[in-house]
């Protein structure tokens, strides 16, 4: 693949090019950008989880100092703007399409969650807009709210949308029900478990922000926004919301400070800013306060599940059946319907040869913030379920947890699961073995005994995970309900001086694309990475692209670049052949030099690039001048990163504090471009997994629907001292489904780690289950109520 010896090429731990500007305060985030004559927006939000809006009186607020304009749902309706959409249609068992009401930009007559958008105030300053918001008199008729996931489908529960009876958006199923039932009928052992997958609130470091602008002269709109996929934002805003035609709308996502999925989606605020900019004739800027982020960024996870695993007498898995209720919140967000279905049910086979699986998922609506993809998106929920029930099976059968996994691993590839996915390659025993070695599994008994002498309870927990990345083969996702294709695009522009611009449809919001993508180019063309510019995030510069999520930028985005590089190289060789009067097939390109094979005739990369533009040395009737090539790459399959995480915890029984004593992660990501960045991604992912397992409670009051964990005073984000030093290892099976052999690494840590941690805690405590986050208070309460025998 590579044809260059470079210390900046594939596989080298190159320092991130972008970090100097980030850590010296020279990044350009949306809030850093100010436009001439800019105004500021503030959104008045619903204080009620559910209420009718009887009246909105803006008369006093309109007279407040600095106020430019105030917009409500009526103004949006008068302009006939469409609502926000869900880009994935899921169908129920009975064949009917999912059901939900409209998702207006500003609430029209009903508010459906605390934080729902009621009015937009535009003023000279943010403070003036905020002050004016307090002067708006909204007549609410407060109504009972459906908040509890367990109760929202019950008869008599308050209804979120009239269009979705019993608050049920869809009743989806996947798998082979008759085979599953038959397997359970002959099972020697059935293991059952009930699980809660806690709601999480994303909390990217940079809050969401937007600047909408309208140019009266050209009729063009510009939106700067914190987006992971600016082209998709433009498509939705033009084709569905109808803010402006696509060619008159430029969307720019400049430096973006973290997203974790929450910045995939198209939200009300940026939509309102770009729409209203034309109304007020001035740019409108909005930056979320942290409290608004808590209330209105799409949340993650939030499942209730019951699962049963059938085993034969030898501990071989026969079948899995799962019933999950997944919270979608008050409105369907951009991809929310796909997360608890096609990104969840399809992964329930885990690393195991499971002959039969049947899963039912009810997607339900509640009076809470919308729930959508959050780092891992469906796959953490699937992994948590399968790795918790497998661990429980090990305990109930008395088979060692490593052994029961090994006994059931998929060992031949390709492997067709009963739930759509076709695993292309992997070696699950290899990652398990390596993790067992790093953690010193044999020595665990000794460590447990030593901890006991110090009055501590030590436990060990496994998670042998698989996930699906590289979203995704377009035809495949289209057949499952996606409204878009999930290919990626690239354009490689070689300048006359030989340096290079790569335009990519991927979008970096912390992943380090400016470095890794340049490393690929450096490997292929022999050009140092400081002569390679990665351009992304501007629909006026970059050809259409699908953006960054689902750990797709390496396997899909870089594959598109590789394809464009193939074309560049082919054309450059043709030019070189003319320049050196040789046949194109005799040209060898290595280390940035084009050489005629078997001769000392050669031409360097930069000279070739210049020749391509002077067009003096070749017939331009045969070869067009210039050196610029584009490619669209559509993957042939998902990729399947997999591995083994093992966690050891020590619990202080007096306080209930859990300390992670050791965390081992062995991952198979296929080809690795930059090991330092990959390790950083694994660290960050595990940190988020530890957050979910131990710290982060996304909690609404079940009666009032108020967000109880609406600030960092109550929502516990992981801090450095909550985290151990991670012990990482890698195994490699090269992915056959893309030209670079990459699988993706961005989400694995968050997917794999929560069950390893909970398995370790339940092992330490000798209990079946503990709800996440396993806070000291919950651990202590579990210790108080555990059976006497277990306590000894």
């Amino acid at each position: 693949m590579t044809n260059t010896v470079s210390d900046q090429g594939i596989g080298k731990p190159v320092r991130r090019k972008e970090d100097f500007r980030f850590i010296t305060g020279n990044g350009h985030y949306t809030d850093d950008i100010n436009r001439p004559r800019q105004t500021h927006a503030y959104f008045l939000r619903s204080p009620h989880a559910h209420a009718k809006i009887k009246s909105i009186d803006t008369a006093t607020a309109l007279k407040a100092p600095g106020v430019v304009a105030i917009f409500t749902g009526k103004d949006v309706a008068a302009d006939k703007l469409g609502g926000l959409i869900c880009g994935w249609t899921v169908h129920s068992k009975d064949g009917s399409a999912m059901k939900a009401g409209a998702h207006p930009i500003l609430a029209l007559d009903t508010v459906r969650y605390v934080g729902d958008h009621v009015a937009m105030i535009v003023a000279e300053t943010h403070a003036e807009a905020k002050s004016a918001a307090e002067m708006i008199d909204v007549g609410y008729e407060a109504l009972p709210a459906a908040v509890s996931l367990a109760d929202c489908q019950k008869p008599g529960a308050p209804q979120v949308h009239a269009e979705a009876p019993r608050n049920t958006c869809f009743e989806w199923e996947l798998g082979n029900k008759p085979e599953t039932e038959a397997a359970f009928a002959k099972a020697a052992k059935i293991v059952k478990i009930d699980l809660v997958n806690n709601r999480l609130i994303p909390n990217a470091m940079e809050p969401r922000a937007a600047i909408g602008e309208y140019d009266k002269g050209t009729g063009g709109y510009t939106l700067h926004t914190t987006s992971q996929n600016p082209h998709v934002a433009r498509l939705v805003l033009s084709a569905f919301v109808g803010v402006a035609p696509e060619h008159k709308l430029r969307v720019i996502a400049p430096d973006v400070g973290g997203g974790f999925g929450s910045k995939i989606f198209i939200y009300a605020e940026e939509t309102a800013c770009v729409w209203a900019a034309a109304k007020v004739g001035r740019p409108i800027k909005w930056t979320a306060e942290r409290s608004e982020s808590f209330l209105s960024d799409a949340h993650g996870r939030d499942h209730l599940s019951h699962a049963e695993l059938a085993l034969d007498a030898n501990g071989k898995f026969l079948a899995l059946r799962v019933k999950t209720v997944a919270n979608l919140g008050a409105y369907l967000s951009t991809f929310s319907a796909s997360v608890p279905t096609y990104l969840y049910g399809t992964l329930l086979s885990g690393q195991y040869a499971l002959p039969a699986i049947y899963v039912e998922v009810d997607g339900v609506l509640t009076h809470t913030a919308p729930v959508d993809a959050y780092r891992g998106a469906g796959r953490p929920e699937a992994t948590f379920l399968i790795e918790r029930i497998v661990e429980t099976a090990a305990r109930e059968t008395g088979i060692d947890p490593a052994e029961i996994r090994r006994r059931n691993f998929v060992t031949s590839f390709p492997h067709q699961t009963p739930v759509i996915m076709n695993y292309d390659t992997g070696n699950y025993a290899a990652s398990l073995d390596k993790a067992l070695e790093i953690v010193d599994y044999k020595g665990f008994g000794g460590r447990k005994a030593e901890a006991a002498r110090r009055g501590k309870l030590r436990g060990i927990g496994f998670s042998t995970y698989i996930e699906a990345c590289g979203l995704a083969p377009s035809a495949a996702v289209g057949s499952l309900g996606a409204g878009v294709g999930l290919w990626e695009s690239a354009e490689v522009r070689v300048n006359p001086t030989g340096n290079i611009e790569v335009l990519t449809g991927s979008h970096s919001h912390g992943q380090g694309h400016e470095t890794t993508f340049a490393q690929l180019v450096s490997s292929r063309l022999g050009v140092p990475i400081d002569q390679i510019e990665i351009v992304h995030g501007d629909t006026d510069k970059v050809q259409f692209g699908m953006g960054t999520y689902g750990s797709r930028s390496g396997s899909v985005g870089m594959s598109a670049i590789a394809k464009a590089l193939d074309k560049v190289e082919a054309k450059a060789k043709k030019i070189a052949a003319h320049l050196m009067e040789a046949a194109a097939e005799d040209i060898v390109f290595e280390n940035g030099m084009f050489t005629v094979q078997g001769t000392d005739k050669s031409i360097a990369w930069a000279a070739l690039a210049l020749s391509a533009y002077t067009a003096h040395g070749f017939p331009s009737s045969e070869i067009e001048p210039g050196l610029k090539e584009g490619a669209f790459y559509d993957p042939t399959n998902f990729t399947f990163p997999a591995g083994c995480h093992i966690c050891e915890v020590e619990i202080d029984p007096e306080t209930g504090i859990t300390r992670i004593a050791n965390f081992v992660a062995v991952d198979d990501f296929g080809t690795i471009i930059n090991p330092m960045i990959v390790e950083g991604q694994v660290h960050g992912g595990i940190a988020q997994g530890i957050g979910q397992a131990l710290l982060e409670p996304g909690v609404y009051d079940p009666e009032s629907g108020q967000l109880i964990t609406g600030s960092f005073m109550d929502y516990c984000m992981p801090r450095a001292d909550d985290l151990p030093s991670f012990n990482l290892g890698f195994t490699t099976t090269v992915c056959p489904s893309n030209p670079l052999g990459m699988k993706g690494c961005g989400e694995a840590g968050a997917i794999a780690s929560p069950p390893a941690i909970i398995n370790a805690i339940t092992d330490a405590l000798g209990i079946r289950d503990i709800e996440m986050p396993a806070t000291p208070a919950r651990v202590w309460a579990a210790l108080q109520s555990r059976p006497k025998a277990a306590a000894e």
């Binding site: 710290l695 964990t709 960092f712 929502y715 516990c716 806070t775 208070a777």
Partner: protein, 265 residues
């Protein structure tokens, strides 16, 4: 933040005069509580009187059998004071455990006890060490000063000048932090001195800091961790929330008291 008048008096005398004149004034020292409150529009004072720069309030004096700390002294100064380290090392441990470095370089002891947040650390030290709180009007005994959640004996127009801590024979502070906010969920300060034995608990009580008489009696008989290990504090009257039930907090009081006695030696 709503608008207010901002004034920066040059002396404590001037601050008292300004305080008397304003409609609805607030004193600003380190601003670690007031500034976030203002930013969230949870307070709308007419005047903010900034005494944070008054040098006459920022000092640590070791005299006789006591240490006197000016109300405007920052937590960082207490945490790094050689005099405090020599005579009351437990206060060093307390001060260096407040918030994070940014908080400790801004927040003041006067601000902490004037606000009397139920999760603040200093109230436990004041009560357990039998501290004297000197104001612009009078001397208030710590036992009389803390009146309830965010309530103190301070009257309108009264400013804390300094706090005097008599030297203890033994003292230690142990706290269990709220996992999210890192404020004390339960903080227990134990001491033994001329005043006898005291056990003061912060963070857990619905009415702020309180003493645990049963533990004080037990430690008076035997100053050992075991003496308090079996003493259960009633859950009634303790805070209960997402982070822990009243029963859990009651249990933690015993654990932290035991650990504090062990730390005090």
């Amino acid at each position: 933040m709503y608008q207010f008048n901002y004034v920066r008096p040059k002396s404590l005398t001037e601050a008292v005069a300004l305080l008397a004149k304003a409609d609805d004034p607030k004193l600003l020292a380190g601003g670690q509580t007031l500034i976030p409150t203002l930013k969230q529009r949870l307070a709308m004072p007419s005047d903010v009187i900034d005494i944070g720069g008054l040098k006459e309030l920022a000092f640590i004096k070791a005299e006789g059998n006591a240490i006197t700390i000016g109300a405007g002294t920052k937590h960082y100064a207490v945490a790094t004071s050689a005099d405090v380290k020599k005579h009351i090392p437990a206060l060093i441990h307390l001060a260096e455990g407040i918030g994070d470095p940014a908080v400790r370089h801004m927040g003041t002891i006067g601000g902490s006890i004037a606000n009397n947040d139920p999760a603040a650390d200093y109230p436990a030290a004041c009560v357990a060490l039998d501290a004297k709180i000197h104001t612009t009007k009078r001397l208030i005994e710590a036992d009389e000063y803390f009146k309830g959640m965010f309530e103190t004996a301070l009257e309108a127009g009264e400013i804390i000048k300094e706090v005097t801590f008599p030297h203890p024979e033994k003292a230690a502070y142990q706290k269990f932090r709220n996992p999210a906010s890192r404020y004390a969920m339960v903080g227990v300060f134990v001491s033994k001195g001329p005043w006898g034995v005291r056990v003061a608990v912060t963070g857990a009580g619905q009415n702020g800091v309180f003493r645990v008489k049963a533990m004080e009696d037990a430690l008076t008989k035997s100053w050992t961790p075991d003496a308090v290990a079996a003493i259960k504090v009633p859950a009634e009257g303790l805070l209960s929330d997402l982070h822990g039930s009243a029963e859990y907090r009651a249990h933690l009081i015993t654990v932290m008291a035991k650990r504090a006695v062990a730390a005090a030696g």
